[in-house]
Assembly symmetry: C2
Homo-oligomer: 345 residues x 2
DNA sequence: CTGAAAGCGCTAACAA
DNA sequence: TTGTTAGCGCTTTCAG
């Protein structure tokens, strides 16, 4: 259980620790003979670098921290996967933290990551305002980029999708399918995703003359349960809308499930849309029409921004203006809406 | 971006670094006056400990590494959540790694975690044999416990469920519902989960006189797609079985979906069961009968074993015999099988 | 009660 | 080409 150090390898090989370091890191000139001996000694002893020591010395950990609101939300899981992939290409590791949608836990996670000298942080803030202080504070210490969601009033890099544009596509599609009235089911307006999506929904509904009953805007949380609850409320209370626009797929899955249970035909009686295109969205009954976020692209941009920020730090440059990169998502038409598949934007 | 060190705090407070350390860590005697001054200086400077330096010094990181086969599999995600919860109670962090079901990547992850001096490792090995070397090797360096899955021929602690007992429950239940023949759909027999579950399936089928056509054992991977493919094969090829037993819920979700598409009534014509009780299992059409693993319990036991192993290390004791803890899972009866809900074991 | 100093394991100057 | 040494930031003896 005792760890092998560079000194032990040095002793066994009959050289200095510096030489061992040179051989093992491949930097600096070493004669072939010595190289052999050191390699052998290291192998025999089963030497492995102590990355803690290296990190202390170098001030670099080759590790990026990521904080997501919920690790059980499939959208974030697949985003994590994309980020890990992107980091892997740079030889970096990912330290993943779950904030449990709690700005308090989130703040603690961010502090921990900063204390652990990660090279940068990728965070999808849990809350549209309450996450602000911790995010801003952390951004002052380390390269940080916000992903998907963002906090109002912060000045950090951000990568995500254009929710308003996405909602425009959704509404146009529903309109094409004959919707003249619509409901919106989302989470409490305490994060940018819901805010932006609701905003896009409302504006385009207005443009298209789609009626939105104030009672038909239901805000809870991102969960299947809430989708079921909300749908039941919409269906039982007077005249249901022609369409139910959901802020994410989990909600939409709950909505379609409730509709099925209540005997409301989807998309015959009411059209339903989701958001995120999680794997399970195609498994609903009917399969969900939803919005696909280009996760790999988002992850790649985030990693790129982080690398750029780190490089800037190293050169002791002023932090330039922060970048806001909004990618354009695409509508995935399946069976929960009426209009046929479209190919254009 | 420059980090504040203990030395700067010491200077500002007009004391030595040792005193600052004593104040900040709350260890050692310090006069109230000095304590005040140090606290103030630290706050003003925005001091945060550098856990890298602390880890190097203490040889402890208060971090546990976890390696799972696939972070996008909801079962593992919720297991991760449980582990994080359990660790949180001990003031430890979780470093999560995704092996992408690749023993090569897995081995690299394990090595990285060891290099980073995590206090212990929790791993659910991707492969029943190929994961062996890396797991055993790592276990020789650090406290390690295998979770859920395990590798044959290794001698480490393990916590999981009794798959054979679970399958006994499943088969009894199907039998009660009138099944006289059954199929098994799992992953290639390259991990202990599938192996054990198949074994339990086969043995109990025999006991109960349930026929298992050799062509009705289909092995692919843990995915919805494979479930769909397998179901199509079972249904189209001659006489379909009375029941389809799936090695996990993802497969079962694919199976029920295919059955629906092909017009095969579930559970009318064929009963279907899953395994894991992931959140989406109740969202299938019909909702899945499945096996619930006591995740929180599993996680708690794993964390406990790790702590015990770490304590043993510290006392330089011999490693005792390894513990194998198999918890008993419970059958969750929903709508994809015919017999009524049961309350007993 | 407080300070000086050693040392965790590693790497990069600097010397030889 | 190789060795010596300083030092990353922290904690902990050991003196005072």
């Amino acid at each position: 259980m005792q760890r092998v150090t560079i000194a032990q390898v040095a002793e066994r090989a009959g050289v200095s620790t510096a030489t061992v370091s040179r051989v093992l890191s491949g930097r600096g000139p070493v004669s072939a003979a010595v190289r052999q001996r050191v390699r052998l000694a290291a192998d025999e002893l089963g030497y492995q670098v102590n990355s803690i020591a290296r990190a202390l010395r170098d001030g670099r950990t080759d590790t990026v921290g990521m904080v997501v609101p919920s690790i059980t939300n499939p959208f974030f899981t697949s985003l994590v996967e994309s980020v890990e992939h992107a980091l892997g290409r740079e030889g970096k590791e990912l330290f993943l933290c779950d904030a449990r949608s709690d700005p308090g836990i989130e703040a603690r996670r961010l502090a921990t990551l900063a204390a652990r000298s990660v090279d940068g942080i990728i965070v999808s803030p849990s809350h549209g305002t309450l996450s602000g202080a911790a995010v801003q504070e952390t951004a002052g210490r380390l390269p940080l980029v916000q992903l998907d969601r963002f906090v109002g009033g912060t000045s950090t890099d951000w990568v995500g999708v254009d929710d308003v544009a996405a909602m425009r596509q959704v509404m146009d599609h529903l309109h094409e399918g004959g919707a003249r009235s619509a409901a919106f089911v989302g989470s409490m307006l305490t994060n940018s995703s819901t805010e932006q999506r609701f905003d896009g929904f409302r504006r385009r509904a207005e443009d298209l003359g789609i009626a939105v009953d104030p009672d038909h805007v239901l805000l809870g949380d991102y969960s299947v349960d809430w989708g079921e609850t909300a749908a039941a409320r919409l269906v039982s209370g007077g005249a249901p809308p022609d369409a139910i626009v959901c802020a994410d797929d989990l909600i939409a899955l709950g909505v379609t499930r409730a509709c099925r249970a209540l005997g409301v035909a989807v998309p015959g009686r009411v059209q339903v849309t989701g958001y995120d295109n999680i794997e399970f969205s195609r498994l609903g009954e009917p399969a969900l029409t939803t919005v696909d976020q280009p996760r790999d692209r988002i992850a790649a941009e985030a990693v790129r921004l982080l690398a750029a920020a780190a490089a800037g730090d190293a050169r002791r440059e002023e932090r330039g203006p922060s970048a806001h990169i909004a990618l354009v998502p695409s509508l995935v038409v399946r069976d929960s809406t009426r209009a046929g598949p479209r190919t254009g934007p």
